[in-house]
Subunit: 428 residues, 2 copies
C-alpha cells in the first residue's frame, strides 16, 4: 500500500490506509485498548488498536488501518489500527520523558541531549516557528523589491577595527570569520539598491549570558535612496510586521504550547532618542543608566516597559546613539555631532536589531575613520567603492534566534538555536 | 515631490514625476538632445533631455520630468526630462567601459574591480538569476513539506574523516569550519522528517579550476521514510524542476543578455549506473575513464553528451558510485557490496549535486565506519543519534553557484559568486 500523509487522512474516511511516522505518545485503556499518537511531517493522528499490539514510545513505525471520522480530533479523524510494524526501534531507553508535556531539563542537559531532545513536540515548536520566521522575512523583503544576496564569511582582514573575530588558517595565510556582512551589503546597494541576506555571523565574544551565542543567523538588509534613518526604521518596522503577521497566521499552534500569543506589531513603532530615554528612565523609574554604557540591559528593559505602558507596544526604537559608541560607517547626526543617525530596535525590552544611515561620501568616510582612529588597512576595496557614485543608504542587522526566544519566553537564546555554540560548547 | 518607482511610471502617463537611480547609459543626438537611461531597483527607463544637461555615466541622479507614452520602449513609457540633479558622482573615471554591451575583462581584473563591476547590467543579471534560484528552491522545498533549518558552521572535530577542513582558533581550543551540514541534517530527519538548508560551506581544497571555490552556498535537503535512493532522486528531480521553472518564468530577460535559454528539466531525468556509464563511454565515445577516479571531468562531459543525444536531456543521474569512493554514511548497495545507493546529478556534463540513501541503523553504521577505517572520535553525538529510532532516509547537497554558471555558460564558477574565495583570493 502507498503511504498516506496524515494531513490527507480526512479525505480517506472509511478507507484502508498506510501511515508512517514517529510514536509521540501511547495510552492504555484497560487491558485491550491502546491509543497511539503518530506524527509524520504533515501532522499527527491518534490510532486506536483493539488487538494486542507491541510498540514503544519514540519508535518509528508503519501502521495499516481504517480512517474513521472523529469530531473530537484536531483534524477530524482517527485511525482504527489493524497492523503495526516497527521500522526503527530505540536501542536504549530515551534519556528523558519523551511523552511528558514538558521536557523539564536543565539547559546544559537539554543541549547535551539535543540530537534527540529536539524530537519533543515542545522543542519542535521552537524550530517550526523559526522556519516560519525565515519564510516571513524572505517573503516580506522580496515583496519590497529587495534582492537576496550571499556574501563571503571568510575575510582577509578583521575589519571594522574590532577585536572579536575568530582567526582561521587559510592555506598559508591568516584570515577571519565575518562578524557581519556590513561592507558587502553596502557595496551591493551600489548594485541592486535594495538587498537582503540571511546568513551566519560569528562573534568571538567571551559572553556568558542568556542572550548571546558565538554563531548565529543574522537577517540583514540594506537600502538606497533614503532621506534619513527614518526611512530605514520604516522599512524595518514593515519587515518585522511582515514576519510577525506570518508567524501569527501560521504559527499559532506552536505558540499555544508555550501559553503565549504572538504579539501584534504596531503600524508605527514608537521611537525615542537615547538622550531622552536616559532622562525618562531616571525620572519615571528612578534608574540611572551607567555612564560607561550607551545603554545597559536594565535600561533596555525599562525602555521596553515605557513603550508598553505609554504606547501599548512590545517594540520600541531607541535612536541617536552616541557617535563615540558607533562604528565608523555610521552617519553622524547633522543636528548634534555627538550623536549619530543610528538606532536599535528593542522587543520586550531586549535589543533585536541595530541599524543606521551610513556614510556614503568618500571624503566624509575617511574623515570619520580618522576621527575614530580606525586604520584603513584591509578595507581599501570597501573604501574605494565610495569613490564611485553611491546613493544615500542605510540598513540593519536583525538577530533571528532572539526573536523566537522572546516570543516564547525561553530562558536562553540557546534554546532557540538548533545546535548552539558558546565559549564552552562546540557539540553536538 | 515623492519618488516614483520606474516600474510604476506607466500608471502616470502625462504626469510630472520624480525618479532616482543610476545612469546606465548616455547617448547624444546632435548638440541638443540627450538620452539618459536610468535604473532603479524596479526597472530602467529612458529620459530625454532637450535642454542642456550635464551628467556622467554611472552617476546616481534624481530627475524630474513628464511621463510620455512610447510604444517602442520596454515598459511602454519614456520620460521627458526637465531637471537633473547629481546625488553622487564618480570621483574617478570608472576603470572599465560601464556603458559597453559586455565588460570584456579578464577574470582576475573582473574580480579585482568587483565592487563596482557588479553594477554592469550583464553582471547584475547573474545575481538576479541567483536570487531567483534561491527563491525557487525555498518555495519548492516548502511546498513539499520540508522545514528550513540552520545548522552550525563551527565544528568541534574535522568529521567525515576528511582532510580538507579549515582550522579556527576558537577561544582556547581548536575548531573547524563545516564542509557540509551532513551530520546535522541527518539528525534533523529524526525531528522533522523533511528538512532543507541554504548555507555556506567551506572546503580547504587547493583547487585551481573553473568549477571550484573554497566557500560556496550549498542547497541541502534530507528526507525520511524513503524506500530507496530512487525516492531521493525523484525529489531532487522535482526540486530542480521547481527551480528551473521559476527561473524560466521570471528570469528570461537575464538569460537573454547571455543569448541562452534556460533549459527545461525532464519530468524524469535519465539515470545510468556508473559501471554501465564506464562501458558506454568506452564503446560509444572511445574514452576510458581513468581507474584512479570514480569519474573524471571528461567522463562527466561524455555522460552529459550521452544524455543529450539519447534522451534530449541536459540532466543525467549517475548512480551506484563505488563503496570505496563514498563516505561512511552512504548506504551500500544491497545487490553489489562494491557499490552504494549513492548518485550524482550532472547538468550539461558537470556535477551539480551529490546524494544518497544513508545508513540509518546504528550497528551497520559502526561496521561501515570500521570497514572504512574511520575513527568515531568527535562524532559520538552523531553516532549515538542512531541508537534512537531513525527512519530510512537520504538527501543531497546541491551547489547553487554552479547551476547559474552552467545556465549562462560562464567561463568560471567564480563569476557566479559575488565575492569568490579561492586559494589566492580573499578580497574584495
Amino acid at each position: 500500500m502507498a503511504r498516506t500523509l496524515i494531513k490527507n487522512l480526512k479525505e480517506k474516511v472509511g478507507q484502508d490506509v498506510e501511515i508512517s511516522g514517529r510514536v509521540l505518545n501511547i495510552r492504555k485503556l484497560g487491558a485491550a485498548i491502546l491509543f497511539v499518537v503518530v506524527q509524520d511531517y504533515s501532522g499527527a493522528v491518534q490510532v486506536v488498536f483493539e488487538t494486542e499490539t507491541k510498540v514503544g514510545i519514540g519508535e518509528v513505525v508503519k501502521i495499516e488501518g481504517k480512517v474513521k471520522e472523529d469530531s473530537r480530533a484536531k483534524n477530524g479523524v482517527e485511525v482504527g489500527g489493524e497492523k503495526l510494524e516497527t521500522i526503527s526501534a530505540n536501542l536504549e531507553e530515551l534519556p528523558y520523558d519523551f511523552a511528558g508535556k514538558d521536557l523539564n531539563l536543565q539547559l546544559n542537559t537539554l543541549l547535551d541531549l539535543r540530537t534527540t531532545s529536539l524530537r519533543h513536540p515542545k522543542t519542535q515548536a521552537i524550530f517550526k516557528l523559526y522556519d516560519l520566521l525565515l519564510e516571513g522575512y524572505e517573503k516580506t523583503m522580496r515583496a519590497e523589491g529587495f534582492t537576496e544576496i550571499k556574501t563571503p564569511k571568510i575575510l582577509e582582514a578583521a575589519s571594522e577595527g574590532g577585536a572579536n573575530f575568530f582567526k582561521i588558517n587559510y592555506f598559508d595565510k591568516e584570515a577571519f570569520l565575518a562578524q557581519s556582512p556590513q561592507f558587502y551589503k553596502q557595496i551591493m546597494v551600489g548594485v541592486f539598491e535594495r538587498v537582503f541576506e540571511i546568513g551566519t555571523v560569528f562573534r568571538a565574544e567571551p559572553h556568558f549570558t542568556t542572550r548571546h551565542v558565538n554563531e548565529y543567523v543574522s537577517l540583514d538588509a540594506e537600502m538606497g535612496f533614503i532621506k534619513s534613518y527614518e526611512d530605514v526604521m520604516k522599512m524595518l518596522n514593515l519587515a518585522i510586521k511582515g514576519v510577525f503577521d506570518h508567524l501569527r497566521t501560521n504559527g499559532e499552534e506552536y505558540a499555544k504550547l508555550y501559553n503565549v500569543e504572538i504579539p501584534e506589531v504596531p503600524a508605527k513603532i514608537p521611537a525615542i532618542k537615547l538622550a531622552d530615554l536616559k532622562k525618562l528612565v531616571k525620572e519615571k523609574y528612578d534608574y540611572t543608566i551607567p555612564e560607561s554604557t550607551d545603554i545597559d540591559p536594565e535600561g533596555e528593559r525599562l525602555a521596553g516597559r515605557w513603550a508598553k505602558e505609554e504606547h501599548n507596544s512590545d517594540f520600541v526604537f531607541v535612536t541617536n546613539y552616541y557617535w563615540k559608541d558607533k562604528p565608523f560607517y555610521t552617519m553622524p547626526s547633522d543636528k548634534d555631532q555627538n550623536e549619530t543617525e543610528g538606532f536599535d530596535l528593542l522587543f520586550k525590552g531586549v535589543e533585536i536589531a541595530t541599524g543606521s544611515q551610513r556614510i556614503h561620501e568618500y571624503e566624509m568616510l575617511l574623515e570619520n575613520m580618522k576621527a575614530k582612529g580606525v586604520k584603513p588597512a584591509g578595507m581599501e576595496f570597501y573604501l574605494n567603492t565610495f569613490k564611485f557614485a553611491m546613493p544615500p543608504h542605510g540598513g540593519w542587522g536583525l538577530g533571528s534566534e532572539r526573536i523566537i526566544q522572546l516570543i516564547l519566553g525561553l530562558g536562553s537564546v540557546k534554546e532557540a538555536v538548533l545546535f548552539p555554540r558558546d565559549v564552552k560548547r562546540l557539540r553536538p
